[in-house]
Amino acid sequence: MSRRARPAARPDRSEGFFRRLFRSRSLRLQLLAWVVLPLAGLAAVNLWTSRDSAFATADLVTDQMLLGSARAIAEQVSMIDGVLDATVPPAAIELFDTGDRDSVYYRVETADGRLLTGYPDLPLPDRAGGSDAAYRGQALRLRSYSHPIVGAGAASPIVVTVGVTTAGHDAMARRLWFTAFAQQFALVLIAGLFVLIGLHRGLAPLLKLRDAVRSRGRTQLEPISIPGVQSEIRPLIDALNAYMERVRAQMAVQRRFVANAAHQLRTPLALLSTQAAYARREAGADARGEALLALQESTQRLARLAEQLLTLSRAEPGSRRPRADRVDLAEAARDVLANLAPVAVGRGVDLGLEADAPAIVSGDGTMLTEMIVNLVDNALLYGRTGGSVTVAVSATRSEAVLVVSDDGPGIAPDEREHVFERFYRAAGTAEGGSGLGLAIVREVAENAGGSVRLADGPAGGGLVVEIRLPLARD
C-alpha cells in the first residue's frame, strides 16, 4: 500500500487566491465568489466604456460651448465704414468661467487670411466640429465657425476659432464618470449583500438539518423532518432518512438476535442449575457421579452454543474485515475430520473423507473451517448412531463442491428452508443441537460467494448438504 501524496482537503499553497476562493470549503464564500467576482468584472468593463462615454459627453458639451462662443464673436463682426470691425463680447469669454480656471484663446480671420483679432499662432482645428490640440504647452479643445459678412467681398466669410484649455472639460468628464462608478460599485455591493442574505436564508434548512443530526441521541434513528426545506435539499434528507432506516433495520436484526441468543441460553442454564441441585442433594455416590457427569456434558454443550453464537456474529457481513485467504477445502475438511474423529468413534459412526484433488477457494479461512465443523457436527449429531457420514470435496471448472452426507432421518422437504433460520430446530430432532449450525453454514457460504443446498441421500434416506463455492482465481 502506498500512501497518497497529499490529503486533498488542504489547499495547495501554490494555488492562486481565486482558485482557492472558488474551491473554498465554505458554500457561502464559493457562491459569493461566483456571483460577485463576475459581477465586478462586468462592472469594470462597464466602467471602462462609461469612461469613454463620459469623455465623449464632455467633448460634446465643450464643443457646443465653443460653437456658441464662436458664434457670439462672429455676430459682433461687422462692416463699419467699409472696414471689418471685430469686437469680442465679454459674454463669449465668460461662457467658459466654470470655476476651473480655464484659459480661453480665440482668433478671428478673414477668408483671405487676414487676422482681425486674437492670437495669430492659435492652431486651427484639423477637422470640422471640435478637435484637440496643444498650444503653449497646454491641451486645448478647439472649434472654428465661419460666418458670412454682407458686403465684405473677398474677406467674407470670416472664420472664428475658439480654444479653451481642458480643465473644465476634464472635470466634467470625471464627474460624469464618478457618478457611473459610484452606481456600479453600489450595484456590486448590493448584489453581494443580497447573495449573502439569500444564502443565509437558503442555507438555514441545511443548518437546521445539521443541528437536527448533531443533536440526536446515539440510538435515536427516527426519520428527520425539516419543514420548509427546498427541493434541492429534500433528496439529501431523504437519503439520510433511508440510510438511518437501513441502520435501524440492521440494529433491529441485531437486537432480535441478542434477545434470541439470551433466550436460548436460559434453558441450558436451567438444566445446569437443576443438575447441580440434584447432585448436591443426592446422597448416593453413583447417582451423584451420574449427575455430575451430565452436568459436565451440559456445560460443554453450553460452551459449544456460546462458541456458535460467536461464530454466527462473526459471520455476519460487516462484523469482520473481509478476508481472501486461499483455502484448500480438501485440506480443511481433512483437518476438521481428524479433530472430530473421536466424536464419530464415540457414536459408532463411520466417518469418511473423499477428496482426491485440492479445491482452492478464496475466503475467510477460519470461517470456512467453522462451516465444515458445523456441517460434520450436524451430520454426527442428527445422523444415525452407528451410521455413516461422508465428506466429499471435488472441483468443477469454476466451483468447489463440498458434500456432507449422512444416513440419518434427513429433513422433510417442507422444513428445508426453515432449518437455515437461526435457532430453528426441526420437529422431533435429537437433543443437544442449538439450531445454529446450518444458519452458520449458510452465512459463511454466502459470504464466500457460494450457496447451500439440501437434498435426500442417494438411497432416499439421510441428508445431503451440498456447498458450492467459486474457485479462487490464480
Partner: protein, 222 residues
C-alpha cells in the same frame, strides 16, 4: 403429591423430574402440548409445571384450554421468555405463578409448596392431626415430635390422607396421587401401604380408619 411437568427440552424435563422425585413428589413428564392435554384430561395432578414454548401445541393454548374446561389445578408457568409482556400473558391466560429460566430448584419447590398450600386452602405450612404433624415446607412427618421414617410411596399416601384430614380419601384418589403414568396402578398395593402406615403410627394418637366402600379417614383419638 403428583405433579405434571410439561417441558419440551427432554434433558431439562428429565433432570427436573429426578430432582422433584428426590423431594418425594410423584412426577409425570410430557414433552409437548398435545401430550399435556391428554395428561391433564385425567385431572389427577395436584399441580402443573408448564413450559410455554412447546411443539405441536403451545403452552399458552394448553393453559387456556385447561381453564376453559373449568379445571382449577394450580399452574406454574416456566419459560425462557422473562419479559414483562410474557409474564403478563402467562398470568392472564390463567397461570397461578410464573418462573423464568434459569431458576434455582429451591425457588421452584417453594413456589410449588405455596401453590399447593393455597389449593388446599391453608395459610399455615404445618398440617397437624393429633400427634401427627406434616411440615409442608420440609415435607417431613413428625409423630409426637419424632421424625417419622417413610418410603416414598408411604409418604405419598399419608400426605394425601393428612391433607384431606376430616374427609374420606378414596382408594382411587390415592392411586391417582401416588402412581405416575409409567407405573401400573395396583389398588391392592394401597392396602399394603396403609397397613404399614398404621404400624408406623402406632406410637401416636392418630389412626387411619377404613370406611368400607368409601376409603380412608385420618382420625385423632380423643
Amino acid at each position: 403429591m403428583r405433579l405434571l411437568l410439561v417441558e419440551d427440552n427432554r434433558e431439562l424435563a428429565d433432570w427436573l423430574a429426578r430432582t422433584l422425585r428426590q423431594a418425594q413428589y410423584t412426577i409425570d413428564v410430557v414433552h409437548d402440548g398435545e401430550d399435556a392435554e391428554h395428561a391433564l384430561a385425567f385431572g389427577e395432578h395436584a399441580l402443573v409445571i408448564l413450559d410455554l414454548s412447546l411443539p405441536r401445541l403451545g403452552g399458552l393454548e394448553v393453559l387456556k384450554g385447561l381453564r376453559a374446561r373449568g379445571d382449577r389445578v394450580p399452574v406454574i408457568v416456566l419459560t425462557a421468555n422473562a419479559s414483562l409482556e410474557g409474564r403478563v400473558r402467562g398470568l392472564d391466560a390463567g397461570a397461578d405463578d410464573y418462573l423464568a429460566k434459569p431458576f434455582e430448584i429451591e425457588e421452584l419447590e417453594a413456589r410449588i409448596r405455596a401453590q399447593l398450600r393455597r389449593a388446599n386452602n391453608r395459610a399455615e405450612p404445618v398440617v397437624a392431626c393429633g400427634d401427627l404433624v406434616l411440615d409442608t415446607n420440609t415435607r417431613l412427618f413428625r409423630l409426637a415430635g419424632e421424625p417419622l421414617v417413610l418410603t416414598p410411596r408411604e409418604h405419598a399416601v399419608l400426605e394425601q390422607i393428612i391433607l384431606k384430614a376430616g374427609h374420606t380419601v378414596s382408594k382411587a384418589m390415592l392411586s391417582a396421587a401416588i402412581y405416575d403414568f409409567e407405573t401400573d396402578a395396583d389398588p391392592s398395593a394401597i392396602e399394603i401401604y396403609v397397613h404399614r402406615l398404621r404400624k408406623k403410627l402406632e406410637g401416636g394418637n392418630v389412626r387411619i380408619v377404613t370406611l368400607r366402600g368409601l376409603g380412608y379417614l385420618l382420625k385423632a383419638e380423643e
